[in-house]
């Protein structure tokens, strides 16, 4: 029989008390390591969450960018180049430009090397009454699209508006229906016969009442030889969200013109894209702030939960140790009567407290990390464990457990060791 046999027997006999104390230390250790682990899980989730959101935003932005690119490719900015002295209000009132400019302006632009230009269509147009039918038509002279020769690779693009051969006309859908003609038939316009080259699709604009005729014929009819009253620059592409770039470039070659944007859909979409991007950025920032607030709340929770659990564990170990000393008064008395020394009695109690601390500290430290791993929702791996474990806190939990437990049990152990065996034995005998 040795003192350690006695120690082991006592531990086994009072296992419930041992485990109750160990659990309290384990809770404190678990709060210490688990709290840190859960905060790291939170950080990890925040990073993942924000990364996912950013990726989503990037994908969305890329999609919008692509849409934008497609929109611009399909449509671009449609601008009308007019003589500088053209009164836009007057043009609105009569429905067509009322001033003129040389028709070689289109050629000068085409040869100027302006990157933003795609399609140039010089026109001479005027509302007039079709004498043979009595219908009001937008008589438009065209000479076909002017190839952009100043920019490499731009000139061989397929034209957006096919030229009208001499002796032919193209007609808007509405006017063709009104006069009852179809493509391939013949119409008489201003005393001359023309073959209907094609009937355009319904556009929902003044073009539905237009009759397109070769430029020189219209110049002749309107008494404006060698002159046009507008150049349509269609599907102009610029890298900014404004037509200002196009106007600036055009003015370098044609200082006496003005540029008038007549389709703003592309800009609207670009603005929408920017607004969407801004909204995504705002949402991302709000999410980040929300996660930071949540983290701060959790941090505050663990900031008071950790000392509370530690103090609770220490108090619980203290109570259980006192109870243990009280229950063992007679035993301590007889052991002292046998000759067991005070420091041996002290050692019996402190060794038990240290074992409680080790068991609880280790179980709690591992349990806390396990809790963090579980809450992460990821599979168990060393990488994850290394990420979630705060080594300092883990070591504090493991080595601090025995220190905490021993410190809490020191008072009761000193009382046990300092107990006068004669007092105990006499007291019990009385």
């Amino acid at each position: 029989m040795t003192l350690w046999t006695l120690w082991r027997r006592e531990l086994a006999a009072r296992a419930a008390s041992f485990w109750l104390a160990a659990v309290s230390v384990a809770v404190a250790a678990a709060v210490l390591t688990g709290g840190a682990g859960l905060l790291r899980v939170h950080d990890r989730r925040t990073e993942q969450h924000l990364a996912e959101k950013e990726a989503q935003t990037r994908a969305e932005m890329a999609r919008l960018q692509d849409d934008y690119r497609k929109i611009m490719k399909a449509m671009g900015y449609n601008v009308m180049i007019l003589p500088r002295d053209q009164d836009l209000a007057e043009m609105r009132r009569v429905g067509h430009p009322t001033t003129f400019m040389p028709d070689d302006y289109a050629d000068r632009l085409a040869q100027g090397g302006i990157e933003t230009l795609n399609h140039l269509l010089p026109i001479l147009q005027q509302w007039t009454v079709w004498p043979e039918t009595g219908e009001r038509i937008l008589l438009t002279g065209v000479r076909g699209q002017v190839p952009i020769t100043g920019v490499q690779g731009r000139g061989d693009r397929s034209p957006i508006f096919a030229p009208i051969p001499a002796g032919s006309v193209a007609m808007g859908r509405t006017i063709a229906e009104r006069v009852g003609v179809a493509a391939g038939e013949t119409v008489t316009l201003l005393g001359e016969s023309f073959r209907v080259e094609r009937v355009e699709r319904l556009r929902g604009s003044a073009d539905d009442l237009a009759v397109w005729v070769a430029m020189d014929k219209v110049q002749g009819w309107l008494g404006q030889p060698g002159r046009i009253n507008a150049i349509l620059a269609l599907e102009c592409v610029c890298h900014w969200d404004s037509v200002g770039q196009i106007a600036a470039e055009i003015s370098r070659f044609l200082p006496d013109v003005q540029v008038f944007e007549f389709t703003s859909l592309a800009k609207g979409r670009a603005d929408a894209r920017n607004r969407a991007a801004e909204a995504a950025r705002t949402a991302l920032e709000a999410e980040r702030e929300h996660r930071l607030r949540l983290r701060a709340e959790r941090e505050r929770l663990f900031a008071w939960a950790t000392p509370l659990a530690t103090v609770g564990a220490a108090l619980w170990v203290l109570i259980l140790s006192f109870s243990n000393v009280r229950a063992r008064r007679g035993e301590i008395g007889i052991l002292r009567a046998f000759g067991v020394r005070r420091n041996q009695i002290l050692l019996l109690f402190l060794a038990k407290a240290v074992l409680i601390g080790w068991t609880g500290g280790l179980a709690g430290a591992v349990g806390g990390v396990g809790m963090a791993v579980w809450s992460s929702g990821e599979g168990l791996s060393w990488t994850l464990i290394r990420t979630l474990v705060d080594p300092v806190r883990f070591m504090i939990a493991i080595f601090g457990g025995p220190v905490l437990s021993a410190a809490a049990a020191l008072g009761p152990a000193l009382i046990a060791a300092g107990q006068d065996p004669a007092d105990v034995l006499a007291e019990e005998s009385a």
Binding site: A12, F338, P421
Partner: protein
């Protein structure tokens, strides 16, 4: 073992005043002598046993064990050695360790002073006291008489020269009390000394001397 108490006084300071447990007590215990001290509860019997056992330092007087004063000449380590080797204690409340078996309880003095073939000797003592079939039982599984016998076996296990027993037969029937007293007789025949606090008339008949104690003094 010769024990000599001269003018031993022990007082306790309580809230109600000073209580004199031993009042100038003088007593000599010779080798091979069995002395019984009787008296009412609180008269100082247990204090006397504890003082002789080296557990209660007197306020005055001397307690000589052999040729040395137990409290003045022996240091703490020597008193521990005296208790663990030379003295066997039997207390009224037995003080068996609750989580040890009967056999382990008897072996428990060996924690301080290992005994050669301790387990064999412990078994023999328990057999002699009729507890051979209770070796692995816990104290809580024993009757009061069985616990008292286990406590007696523990006190005699390491072969003490001095047995200090507080009412060791109080809970035993006639037959077992006879066995216990026989063991005391064997001890004194071998030159040992027995100092017993008892009210048992059967013990009075076997002891060499019976002393009456009242208010911390021996009375005639």
């Amino acid at each position: 073992m010769k024990v000599e108490l001269t003018q031993v006084t022990r007082r306790f300071h309580t809230r109600r005043g000073v209580v004199t447990a031993l009042d100038s007590v003088s007593l000599t215990l010779s080798d091979g002598e069995w002395v019984i001290v009787r008296g009412p509860s609180g008269c100082g019997k247990t204090t006397l046993l504890l003082t002789v056992g080296g557990l209660r330092r007197p306020d005055g007087g001397e307690v000589k064990v052999g040729s040395h004063d137990l409290y003045r000449e022996m240091c703490s380590e020597e008193r521990v050695a005296y208790r663990s080797k030379a003295v066997g204690f039997v207390f009224q409340q037995f003080h068996l360790i609750p989580y040890l078996t009967v056999l382990e309880n008897v072996l428990s003095p060996a924690i301080v002073c290992p005994v050669v073939e301790g387990e064999k000797r412990a078994r023999e003592w328990l057999e002699r006291l009729g507890l051979g079939d209770r070796l692995d039982h816990k104290p809580s599984e024993l009757s009061t008489g069985e616990r008292q016998r286990a406590a007696l076996a523990r006190a005699l296990f390491h072969g003490p020269e001095l047995l200090l027993a507080d009412e060791p037969t109080g809970n035993l029937d006639e037959q077992l009390a006879g066995v216990a007293m026989e063991l005391c007789e064997i001890l004194v025949r071998k030159g040992g000394t027995v100092l017993m606090a008892s009210h048992d008339e059967r013990a009075f008949r076997r002891a060499h001397r019976v002393l009456k104690m009242e208010c911390g003094r021996f009375v005639s």
